[in-house]
Homo-oligomer: 103 residues x 2
Amino acid sequence: MTSARMAKLKAKGWRSGSAAEFLGLSPEESYFIELKLKLSDELKKRRAKRNISQHQLAQLIGSSQSRVAKMERGDASVSIDLLVKSLLAVGAKPKDLGRSIAA
Amino acid sequence: MTSARMAKLKAKGWRSGSAAEFLGLSPEESYFIELKLKLSDELKKRRAKRNISQHQLAQLIGSSQSRVAKMERGDASVSIDLLVKSLLAVGAKPKDLGRSIAA
DNA sequence: GCCTCATATGTCGGCTCTGACATATATTTT
DNA sequence: AAAATATATGTCAGAGCCGACATATGAGGC
C-alpha cells in the first residue's frame, strides 16, 4: 500500500474512525482497504485476460457498468461480498481468492 | 463441503438461484458459502484461543452476542465484510485470511 | 428440580449497498 | 476531428445487513 494510493482512496470517500496514523486510518481499517484492493486488482486482471468490456462483465454478473467501474476502482460503496461474488462468477476458485489475498 | 452441512445451511434460509444441482445451488453459490464458512470457522477458532464468550467478543468488535452467534453459524444474514472486519479486529492479518480461504 | 451462564433464534428500525440511470470524460477508430 | 466505444462519477429508490433486544435452548453445578 503506497501513501499515494491511500490518499487517493481517502479523497474518494474513505473515512477514518481512529487517530494517530498517517491518514487517520487504524491498522484494521488499512488492512480492510488493502484487502479490497487486492480483490479489485484480481477482478481487473481477470477481465483483461478475457478481453471484455466493463459492460460485458456487468451483464455476465448481473450488474451494471457503473458498478463494475466502482468495483475496479476500489470505491467505498462496494462490498467485499460483491467483489467475491463477481470473482467467482468469472471463474475464480476459493483457492485463487485465498492466494490473491495472502499475496 | 459435506452434503449434510449444505443441507443444514439450506434449511436456515439459504436460497438458490439456479437449478440442476444437489441442493439447487450453483457452483458459484456453493463456493461463496464455503468461503464464508471458512471465515466463520477461523473466527470460532480465534475466539476459542482467547477463551472469551460471544458476548465479550461482541463488545470487542462493537457488535452484539446474537450477531456473533450468527457469524459463527454462517447465517445468511451475515456479510463477508463483517466477518473480515471481525477477524481483523481480533488480530488476524490479511495473510492469515488468505491462508484460511485457500486452505 | 432450580439457578447461572453461554449460545441460538426471531424480529425490527435504521443505515448501507445495490442495480439502474444519466452524464461526463477518456480512448480508439474511421 | 468527429464518431464510436470504453470507463468514470453522481444520484436514487429499493433491497439487504446492521446492532439491539427479547426470548428460547443448552450445559453445568447445586
